[in-house]
Symmetry: C2
Subunit: 396 residues, 2 copies
């Protein structure tokens, strides 16, 4: 008799974004003509850059002709893309070998798959508020989770303490959902802590392209990180690939535990459990790292940053505390008048047709906070901000 993975029974009923989708659908059923201002799920609204579109078309053409057709790709990534990504890191003075870079289908996929490298008896440390999949993927593996809450007191940037006992540490900086970003000193403390204990950091750098201030974009800018960190990156937010799918992961060859190289283990995992990433998508991804591609994606990022500015100005004007927005595509606000985050969600949906994300969905310490994504349409964002300002002024 087959036994299913019974850890799935320990998952909480509903995934945050499914719950939001359900409430949104119910609202639209009752108000079929309503226009909704969607600033909830962090999905981008701007199309792919012209350089990427051109590269994708060329790659599709390659697949249509016998002489240029590509069959199976190398499982860990096409050399042209691994080299382009290593060159991109070098511009920040991070030296990587091309075979320390693995091409992936995106950060979500990779964050799930990578857990296969670790024993299930390891304890995972998850700083909260956090992306819910960090927690759920570890529950599925039956792994013990240590929840490390954060809040306004530490600016949502918890630091290590000697008493913490964990083997696998998630760090997302700039953070989803709070938008908070670690500086070099703070990240160095985590790297030192991990090296002292033989812990491994999973560094989620999906939002690094939104950093404006002088903060580390990569954990490998921190000395010592090569012996304790894996970095997971994505083109989803950087280059609008949420529906196109492509990401990359860095596993340094210096990262070993119990005499096993995690880089070599991941090679073995990919060669066993995948047949590589689509040639077409890898060509599109490589275009992101050209000079023209970088210029074009930063034009889009500038538009999203203007959305952030509009929202920050609104919250300043309403006298509401918030975090993020400056180095991240998310703004994390305190709900007014001590409202619960789901109550505030319902109010925004019903009164001003704005959809955000309740902080409670990112862990219990997220209660009382609310996340806005800045990836929406600029016109929608301006209108939503105007409505939000009016609503917040009524609250006071």
């Amino acid at each position: 008799m087959l036994t299913p993975n019974l850890s799935y029974a320990n998952l909480k009923e509903s995934y945050l974004f499914h719950h939001i989708a359900g409430k949104t659908e119910a609202y639209l059923c009752a108000h079929p003509d309503a226009h909704l201002f969607r600033m909830g799920i962090g999905d981008v609204s701007l199309p792919l850059a012209p350089a990427v579109i051109q590269a994708l078309h060329r790659a599709v053409d390659d697949q249509g002709e016998k002489d240029s057709f590509h069959g199976y790709m190398p499982e860990c990534g096409a050399p042209f893309l691994r080299e382009a990504i290593a060159a991109f890191y070098l511009k920040r003075n991070v030296q990587l070998a091309a075979d320390e870079v693995f091409v992936s289908s995106g950060a979500s996929d990779e964050l799930g798959d990578l857990l296969d490298l670790f024993d299930r008896k390891n304890r995972a440390l998850i700083m909260e508020p956090a992306y819910p999949a960090y927690v759920d993927a570890n529950i599925m593996a039956g792994r013990e989770i240590l929840h490390l809450p954060s809040g306004p007191d530490n600016h949502f940037l918890p630091l290590p303490e000697d008493s913490l006992q964990a083997d696998l540490i998630y760090i997302c900086s700039p953070n989803n959902p709070t938008g908070a970003a670690y500086n070099r000193d703070q990240l160095s403390r985590w790297v030192q802590w991990a090296n002292e204990r033989g812990a491994v950091i999973l560094f989620d750098a999906a939002y690094e392209a939104f950093i404006e201030e002088d903060l580390p974009h990569s954990i490998f800018e921190i000395p010592g990180a090569r012996t304790c960190a894996i970095e997971i990156c994505s083109l989803s937010k950087t280059a609008g690939f949420t529906g196109t799918r492509l990401g990359y992961t860095v596993i340094p060859k210096d990262l070993e535990r119990s005499g096993l190289s995690l880089n070599a283990m991941w090679v073995r995992n990919r060669t066993t459990k995948t047949n590589g990433i689509s040639y077409i998508l890898q060509r599109g991804g490589a275009a992101v790292f050209t000079e023209e591609g970088q210029r074009q994606i930063h034009e889009n990022i500038r538009i999203y940053k203007e959305n952030a500015r509009v929202l920050m100005t609104t919250l300043d004007e309403a006298g509401i505390r918030y975090w993020g927005g400056r180095n991240a595509p998310y703004i994390w606000m305190e709900c007014p008048d001590g409202q619960s985050s789901w109550a505030f969600f319902d109010r925004l949906l019903n009164e001003i047709q704005v959809i955000g994300t309740p902080g409670e969905g990112f862990g219990s310490c997220g209660e009382g906070f609310f996340r806005f994504s800045t990836f929406g349409d600029p016109g929608d964002t301006r209108e939503a901000a105007a409505r939000l300002l009016q609503l917040l002024k009524q609250s006071h």
Copy 2:
């Protein structure tokens, strides 16, 4: 201190196809001008069908314009593709709900990921010779493996016996590497056996499009399969997607173990651990299931079948026993004069520059056999067959 997944240390050193690649590379270093006839790894050589290319171009255009741009796709697959696949099954009188079909990145990816649904204490039954990743993925999970050898006596189609004790059964039909394919009666016996014991069958149908005779293309053509089987399919061989990547998996809603629905568990897995499959690739995949797409891919399959015919004629003429070729893109031959499969590999490479796959790489009972893929260039296949005939005649 993080403990890595120590089961990786139990893997055998080198993955079959890496070993072949190493030997091939060494040969090319010594003979830089050699032309190699590649009939080893099962990679296709014909380009994507025109209908697919057109759909891919249109989808790329969609991603370049704000009004047609697609962000995050539904994690389990785009409705347009899930419905197209369900309609494809209906033509074979298999009724599926669209939400029993999951879009994947391909069969290899899915065969690795799906194992997360099962407890690690389950015992896996692997009929050998077998695709090496079946074994390695279960070793990585620390799962006990029962190897069920097959051979000429049972035509490489082992049947269940009451004494077999296993929870998770791999069936690949038409088979890689042997090309053998189960008929309805034989598959019914496995389905009955699994239902009686509460076991689950992972049915790898990657080669169903190559069936010529009246044999089941899907395990769901067998009554009772909805309560004991998951079917894993791929467009890699069917439509030349080895480097483009797309597949699909069927998990019936009637499949439950310990009160958990495996369909619901997989929804939860996908929504937690992925963000869906590329919109562009799903549009390309949907074109395969149109009338025009089906006509075009079967033109390609006909070319590969002609390769199979050329090789079968050669082996007939040389008086060599073989299996497959008729309902599968693989031909599984007995090595002449009791040679070992790696010795025969070296001989073909060095003497006639033909690359095949040594049977030993698919399990110890594959020793003494050799696999040819029929996905090569037709001209190459004819020349390779002529050289092979000469070599085999010398052997006798």
